[in-house]
Structures are given as C-alpha cells and as structure tokens.
C-alpha cells in the first residue's frame, strides 16, 4: 500500500529540488557571458531574467526546510529528481521564450525538455540566425542533461548532503565509481571534462579544415562536441550535421557520440587502467554485435533500394544515420522526408530497432540500453538450455559487467520490465501520432525517437504539430530519460497524497 508523503518528506524534497534549481540558474551566467562578449544585449537580458527567476524559485523552495540538510528515503530521492527536472524545465524555457524564437511557450518547453533529455528535436524558429548565446545555451543544456543535472549539482555545489545518492539514483544513474557519491559525481565530470577538451580540439581542427575562421571553428567545435558527446543531436543550423559537408567533421562526430554512448563505469575502468574490461563487458559486446547486425541490415536495405550508389554514400548517409540512431544521438546527414520516402522497409526497420535498443546504461544515451538487451538474451539462452538439455548439463548463467556475476531471475525480470515499459510507451505514443492524423510508419518512427531520446525525425515534429502531440512528446521524453521509476514514484506520491487526505 502506498504511504502518503509526510510533511517532512515534502519539505525535504522542496529543499533538494530548490538546491538544484538555484545552481541551474547560476549556470545561466554562461550564455550571459557569451552574450556580453558577442554584444547580444537582448538575449543577455532574457537569460538574466531567467536566472533571477531560478534563484527566486530555488531559494523559495529551500525556505521550506530549516536546520541541517535532511536525509531522504529512496522514494523521496526519486521524487526529488523528477521534481527538479520539472522545475528546471519551466525555468529553462523562460529565457528561451523571451528570446522570441518560439511561437508559443509550449514550443519553448518542448525544446528545453528535448535538450535536457538529450533528444535533439527542435521547434525553434529561424534556426540559421540564432545568437551565439542562445546556441551555446541549447548545446549546454543538452550536455548538462546528458551528464546529469543532479550530478552537476552534487559534484560542485553540495557539501556532503545526506540525501544526495537517493536523488542521484533517481536520475537513472547507478554508477558508484568511488565509495562516496560526491567523489563519484566529480569523477563523472573529470571524464567529461577530459573528453570536452579533446573532442572540442578535434572538432575545431575539422572545422578549420573546411574553411571556418578560427573563432567560429572553435564555437562550432565546442557546440557540436557537446551535442555529440551528450548524444543530444542539436546543431546550430537547420541542416544539422549535413551543413558541414565534410567527412572529417562527420568522422569526429561519430567518434564523439559513440564514445559518449558508453557507460561511465566503462570510461572510469579504462581511465584507471582496467583495459581488459573492454573485451569482457557484456554491455559493450552486446552494443557492438547489435550495431554491426543493424548496420548490415540497413546497408543491405539501402543497397537493394539503390538509394546510395557508392561506398562513401552508404557510410556517410546509411551508417551515420544508423549509428546515430543506435547511440540515440540524432545527428542527421539526410533530410527527414528522405528517410520515409527513399530508405525502404529494411533500412527503416533497422533504424527503428536501433533507436529502441539505444546505448549503454549510466551513459547519456536512452533506449532499452545494451545491458538489458544482453541480460534478456542470456536469460533466453539459459531458459532454452533448461528446456532442451538434461538437468545435469545446465549450470548457472554468468555475465560480466565490471565484475562477474550470476544471472538471477530478479536481474532478468527487472531488465524485461523496463524493456516492456519502453515498448508500451512507444506503442502508446504511436497511437497518439495516429490520432493526430499521421501515417503509421512516421508515427512509429517519431514515437521510437522521442521515447529513446534520439532526435531523428520523420518530419512529424514541427511547429504545426497538434498541441496534444507536443505535450505527449514532452512527457514521453521525460519518462524515457528518467527510465520510468522516478516518474512512477512522483505519480505514486501525488496519488497517495490525494488519497490519504
């Protein structure tokens, strides 16, 4: 039976959510700084307003708790993560809306959620002429959402708050690289900062090679790295990655988003010298196998349809879209309608499956996650063995994920539950697309894209999309990113609170 939240729980949730929102507001100093350098006075004013509102809301929420920081129950931690996301969503949408690049506040909310969840779909207007400060904020919130807003708040702005780990886990993060959660959060940021420097440098060089001026090449390199490593998929121009027309640039981006889709535990293992992990890790092996199979299926389908007539076309268009889908990045080097009109059934099946499978757990990627796919496959093999082999021949099923473990029913059931929830969400979202009058295939494609936080589009996501479908997509992006449990905890809390009174 659900226990109604106590007044103490609610005040503790308000305290932690307020803490995160305050620091989210402080981060708006970044676009403000860029705007001041570039003399973009209006966006500076818009972001300053947004920052002021965040600080007011954050400090206001913190007033509900007096005394030393409280401890949190597991459910309260999950609810805190979900509430922080919602408050940051509204706070982040305000400066967006004030810039005048959105027709409605709902569109600004859509883009903010798309950024936070590293989806990459956008409803922004006049995208090719955005101020640098707005572009920086778009990419930055995508990067922030990928690394985890809670991780950021924990790593730099908190001092050993006792409820920290509970909120951290609520944001679909379960890595404990180091014994202390604050140190773990900082380790995540050390890894991210190392890649930020290296990836920006590589993208900057690629930008220079295609003739961008050094200053612009740096900004584009920084933006595109943040969009790639967070598996976000935003780009400063409407043509997305196609704008650069450069294989070198595309190659740098592929490396960045493939590495960005890896588990942070894997990054940390490799950073600390445990290079054997890359051979044995169930998740990575599963990802490489599924990626290769889906690329083979998609490329074969494209070959049959004679869409691209040479190897370069198959790699730069076919492979890039497929691996962009599998890592849930959403960078595109083809136009949205080309996918529906030209790609043919086999390639479309490959790309939809790739989107649903997604990247690694505890990474910036969405989808089922390769770990769960690997676990379900191993459980299936084990059940088949039990069915077909004599009892004496069946031993326990093991798997390696940073350490060897025996596959038990609980792990398999948990993986299966999340996969079923994803499939049900995709089915429901497809139905909403059909209700809005779209054909089945584009509706399914877009549903898989928003649920797995991918950002590839079949052309459904435009300013003309019906409002109820935009609201559905916003909710589904949120649910998909937090992997259901935090959102269920919030719904349970609200339900129990209403019922208990």
């Amino acid at each position: 039976m659900l226990r109604p939240p106590s007044a103490r729980d609610l005040r503790a949730i308000a305290f932690y959510s307020g803490n995160i929102v305050v620091w989210f507001g402080v981060l708006m100093l970044i676009p403000i700084g860029i705007g001041l350098v570039e003399r973009e006075w209006q966006p500076v004013l818009d972001f300053a307003t947004g920052m002021g509102l965040c600080l007011a809301a954050g400090f206001g929420l913190q007033l509900f708790w007096k005394g030393p920081p409280p401890a949190l129950s597991g459910t309260a931690g999950l609810v805190s993560a979900a509430v922080s996301w919602l408050v940051c969503l509204v706070a982040g949408a305000i400066p967006y809306y004030l810039t005048g690049y959105y027709l409605t506040f709902l569109d600004a909310l859509f883009d903010t959620m798309s950024g936070f969840t590293t989806t990459g779909l956008t409803l922004i207007q006049d995208i090719n002429h955005l101020p640098d400060s707005v572009n920086t904020w778009r990419m930055f919130i995508s990067w922030l959402g990928g690394q985890g807003m809670v991780v950021l708040a924990l790593s730099f702005f908190t001092r050993g708050l006792p409820g920290a780990y509970k909120i951290y886990a609520g944001e679909d993060r379960d890595e404990r690289l180091l014994p202390n959660v604050i140190h773990t959060a900082r380790a995540v940021w050390v890894v991210s900062a190392a890649y930020l420097m290296l990836g920006t440098l590589m993208a900057w060089l690629a930008g220079l090679s295609i003739g961008l001026m050094p200053g612009r090449a740096f900004l584009h390199g920084l933006w595109m790295f943040m969009a790639a490593f967070s598996t976000g998929g935003f780009a400063p121009y409407g043509q997305n990655l196609l704008y650069y027309h450069s294989f070198a640039f595309e190659l740098v981006m592929i490396v960045c988003f493939v590495v960005g889709s890896f588990n942070f535990n894997l990054h940390w293992s490799l950073f600390t010298g445990n290079r054997q992990e890359i051979r044995k890790n169930l998740e990575l092996v599963t990802f490489l196998i599924t990626a290769t199979l889906l690329v083979a299926l998609g490329t074969y389908g494209l070959g049959q349809m004679s869409v691209y007539t040479n190897v370069a076309g198959l790699v730069r268009k076919g492979f890039l879209q497929l691996i962009s889908a599998h890592t849930t990045t959403g960078f595109m080097t083809v136009y949205a309608r080309q996918l529906i009109l030209e790609w043919g059934p086999a390639a479309m099946v490959a790309i939809v499956i790739a989107m649903m499978l997604g990247g690694s757990a505890s990474s910036t990627a969405g989808g089922f996650k390769a770990f769960r796919v690997g676990i379900v496959f191993k459980a299936l093999v084990y059940d088949l063995k039990r069915l077909l082999l004599p009892e004496s021949a069946v031993t326990v099923q093991k798997f390696h994920m940073f350490r060897s473990a025996v596959l038990d029913d609980r792990t398999a059931r948990s993986a299966m539950t999340i996969i079923l929830l994803y499939v049900a969400t995709v089915a429901g979202t497809t139905a909403m697309g059909a209700l809005a009058g779209y054909d089945f295939l584009p509706a399914l494609f877009e549903a898989a894209s928003v649920t797995s936080n991918v950002g590839l589009s079949a052309g459904l996501t435009t300013v003309a999309t019906p409002w109820f479908l935009k609201v559905t997509y916003i909710l589904v992006m949120w649910v998909g990113r937090l992997e259901f449990m935090s959102v269920f905890a919030l719904i349970g809390y609200v339900y129990a609170g209403v019922r208990g009174r």
């Binding site: 592929i254 590495v259 600390t272 690329v295 083979a296 790699v315």
Partner: protein, 44 residues
Amino acid sequence: MYQRGLMQVSWRSATLGILTEFACAGVLVLAAALIALLVNWGVR
C-alpha cells in the same frame, strides 16, 4: 583498481583509456565500411 581515488588516475592510464575507446569507435566505422563495400559489390 575499480574504486581508485580521483587523484590516482595517471595521465598515462587516462590517455590509454581514451585511445582504447577511440579504437573501439574506429572498429565500428571500419566494420561499417567493410559492410558497405560488400553490399555495394554484392547487390550490383
């Protein structure tokens, strides 16, 4: 090894770690190029 402190990550192991991950992404690109080559050759 798994829970080594933040300060114990050396430049060497971090660099090798990054290179290993890049190599992994490179293998995927090469596999894709090979598949594209085979498809291009086989379908036509």
